[in-house]
Amino acid sequence: MRIAQEERAAYLAAGRSAMEAGPSWLKLGRHEALESFFRAGFPGREEAWKYTSLTALEKRRLHSPAPGAEFLPDSLPAGHLLTYGNGYALSRSTSLPEGMLGRLDVALAHTTLPAAARFGTLAGRESALVALDTALWREGVVLHVPAQWRVDEPIFIVRTIDEDGAMVHERSLIVLEPGARATVVELCNGRGDYWRNAATEIFVGARAHLSYVKLVEDGAAAIHTGALFARQEQDSRLDVLSLALGGQLTRQDIALDLAGAGAGATLNGCFLAGGRSHVDHHTRIEHTAAHTQSREAFRGIAAGRGRGVFDGLIVVRPGAQKADARQSSRNLLLSPLAEIDAKPQLEIYADDVKCSHGATVGRLDESQVFYLRSRGIGDVQARAMLTHAFALEACAAIAPGTLRDWLTQRLDGALDRLVEEGRK
């Protein structure tokens, strides 16, 4: 639905300061993107939004907030750290040069930087929400790892929003040149009834390896719409983990393109939907080149009146022979009013391929509970153990170490609260 004339002014006012900065090509792109958002409006009746409604968002009065405060979670592991408050860069603690890890708007002002040419080539204007993000993002993050560089410690980008009614559009651009390696964790947290709209573009060069984690710990009243686009070159590797542990309404769109022969990807996720919250993951993995491999595993747990949605599509393009894709979506329902909707899909246009998917929705296996109880473990504890084990499978794609331990802790903490709620 188109955005009404009187509402357009509000968006223009909210975005004015962001849209008037930067080089002219960027400003032009912002204005075009805003126009295309106005024409398309918020997604509504289309198939991709069958299970998720943004009407709550359309009703909210939103504004552009002032810079907020930094909020770091407990026992954050050592690594490079960038913090953002309400979309504004706050602090930077890293040994990496500014040109490698820093603000995206600064990088784009120097178009000679190699990363700049990639900006906007994956996250364009196809989706209205991404178009709005393209129009209104400010400051942003860029990571550019030159060829053969290894960034050993994880890079944390902590994005906090702490203002009611705030509308924050975030943008990240991650480029790994051939042979480079890096691990990135984007952490989203905050409090209040804000709207976070994010877009991330990832380019993984030939033989490069990126681990990317999106950890969502938004406040209980927050709406989060995120889009991630990645393109992989020959023999590259990308591991994506999406952990959705908070927020009122979370929607993540993840699209991976295995464009180079021999590229491999894992896409894992775990989402917890408790209370009245709603978590929706839409994933799309395209096998464009031959000999590409993908592994996707999502674990969903819904309790209370929570609703979880998984929509995963695997596409094998013509000519992508020897593609090998596996997808699994397993979901647990912890209470009678919770709901899970799963839609695992395959679209295949080549013949010499191996593709499979599986999806399950149900309760814990009573025979497993019985086994643990027969070993002297109480019912409550047995169920908690099985639920934890179920969720933790998603983290398996992250290399063992302090980062995985820390992510497991975050997941465990959120899960304890959910299981507690499911028991009530």
Binding site: P318, P336, P344, Q345, L346, I348, V353, K354, A359, G362
Partner: protein, 482 residues
């Protein structure tokens, strides 16, 4: 009106589509196009009561407010709904009441299709209600069934003889407002089959209808209604084939099944409509709405389909599991080759407690065929202990074919257990090598592997159908692997 123009028995195309002949029978048609007048005319020709005409008109009026759905993964040029004859019937001579009175040309047609009515009458076991274009021409075994209280007749006859049953159940599973093609069917349906099995009766033979599209430019809109009363059982077979034509023909049928308490309905289809030629010219558009309603406790509906024909198939035989402990099943083999497109699957709606459903779908794509499984498993909040198992496998032959899987799982009850799994792949070179090393030709090896792939579905078919289905599959895939 008049004779159909092209007479082409035995000429050129026999090999490609063996059932592509045209029977030269005098036809009675209404003019092309659709309007309230045409609906009234069809109703008047069939001498229908007022309530049925009103129902048709309501459907027509509703249809006019709808637009053609485009969500299925199929592509075709726009359909001109005003360019279709909505009614065609062989001209009546005196009204054949016995097999002997039936036009010999029509009987000869069936013989070519391999269902000689006379033989079947003797061979016992199968009663045939043959639908030729739109009017049922011969019904056998009626007396024997009648002695058990089973009604098995043409739809139009049921409207005359059993109006109270038809009125009670017509549209109760697929309402006239259901979807674009179902509404169209409700407005213009010409004939079909009606089955009623009374309480506690187990139908002693397989009931069967052979549908056949014959006249040029006529859509066929038949309607099947099967009611199994409490504790009864019935198995119904449906087979289809159509002569070759260059223009696409629309086939929009509706099938409604009602299973009351403890009743069992088994519905089997072998669909072999004309698929079009190698370039994708011609062929049937098979846009069908099939739905079964497990209305009573412990009722059971089982769909089995083998889809080898049609240019486009758009079909989702579904089960509404309303009664507690009801069971729904769907077994399907769909083959696409040449430029055929299929978008088919099922819906299992779990409403009652302890309901169970099983879905097994096997898709085979060869040449430039496109095959999609689209299915919904929905567990409503009250469906405690619902259980579903779904398996869909695709077999790919040739680098230009396509196979898709679009399952939807919607679960609103935490005691439900829903499982879906799907695989896609091609026939392994090692499998072919093994069979060939045992002396099988490449073609036989492929046939054997394909038959094994489909075995789970074929074993659900009644004997005669299983044999026919295997033959059809072999013919369909001839030359697909080289």
């Amino acid at each position: 009106m008049g004779k159909s123009e092209n007479v082409g028995i035995g000429d050129l195309m026999q090999e490609e589509y063996r059932w592509g002949f045209v029977t030269d029978v005098e036809q009675e048609r209404v003019p092309k196009g659709l309007s309230e007048d045409v609906v009234r005319l069809i109703s008047a020709k069939k001498g229908e009561p007022e309530w049925l005409l009103e129902w048709r008109l309501a459907a027509y009026r509703h249809w006019r407010t709808l637009s053609e759905p485009h969500w299925a993964k199929v592509h075709h040029p726009p359909i001109d709904y005003q360019g279709i004859h909505y009614y065609a019937a062989p001209k009546k001579k005196a009204g054949p009441s016995k097999l002997a009175d039936v036009d010999p040309e029509i009987l000869a047609t069936y013989e070519k299709l391999g269902i000689p009515l006379k033989e079947q009458e003797m061979l016992a076991g199968v009663a045939v209600d043959a639908v030729f274009d739109s009017v049922s021409v011969a019904t056998t075994y009626k007396e024997k069934l009648a002695s058990l209280g089973i009604v098995f007749c043409a739809f139009s006859e049921a409207v005359r003889e059993h109006p109270e049953l038809v009125r009670q159940y017509l549209g109760s599973v697929v309402p006239h407002t259901d979807n674009f093609f179902a509404s169209l069917n409700a407005a213009v349906f010409s004939d079909g089959t009606f089955v009623y099995v009374p309480k506690g009766v187990r139908c002693p033979m397989e009931l069967s209808t052979y549908f056949r599209i014959n006249a040029n430019d006529t859509g066929q809109f038949e309607r099947t209604l099967i009611i199994a009363d409490e504790g009864s059982q019935v198995s119904y077979l449906e087979g289809c084939s159509a002569p070759r034509r260059d223009e696409n023909q629309l086939h929009a049928a509706v099938v409604e099944l009602v299973a009351l308490q403890d009743a069992v309905i088994k519905y089997s289809t072998v669909q072999n409509w004309y698929p079009g030629d190698k370039e994708g010219r011609g062929g049937i558009y098979n846009f069908v709405t099939k739905r079964g309603d497990c209305r009573g406790a412990r009722s059971r509906i089982s769909w089995t389909q083998v889809e080898t024909g049609s240019a486009i198939t758009w079909k989702y035989p579904s089960c509404l599991l309303r009664g507690d402990d009801a069971v729904g099943e769907f077994y399907s083999v769909a083959v696409t080759r040449g430029r055929q497109q299929a978008d088919t699957g099922t819906k299992m709606i779990h409403i009652g407690k302890n309901t169970r459903s099983t879905v097994v779908s096997k898709g085979i794509s060869a040449g430039e065929g496109s095959n999609a499984y689209r299915g919904l498993v929905k567990v409503l909040a009250g469906a405690d202990n619902a259980r579903n198992y779904t398996q869909c496998d695709s077999l790919l032959m040739g680098s230009r074919c396509a196979a898709h899987t679009f399952p939807y799982l919607e679960v609103k009850n935490d005691s439900a257990q829903v499982e879906h799994e799907a695989t896609t792949g091609k026939i392994g070179d090692d499998q072919l090598f093994y069979l060939q090393s045992r002396g099988l030709s490449a073609e036989d090896a492929v046939n054997m592997i394909v038959n094994g792939f489909c075995k789970e579905v074929f074993k659900e078919l009644p004997m005669e159908f299983a044999v026919e289905a295997q033959k059809l599959l072999a013919v369909s895939l001839e030359g697909a692997v080289g």
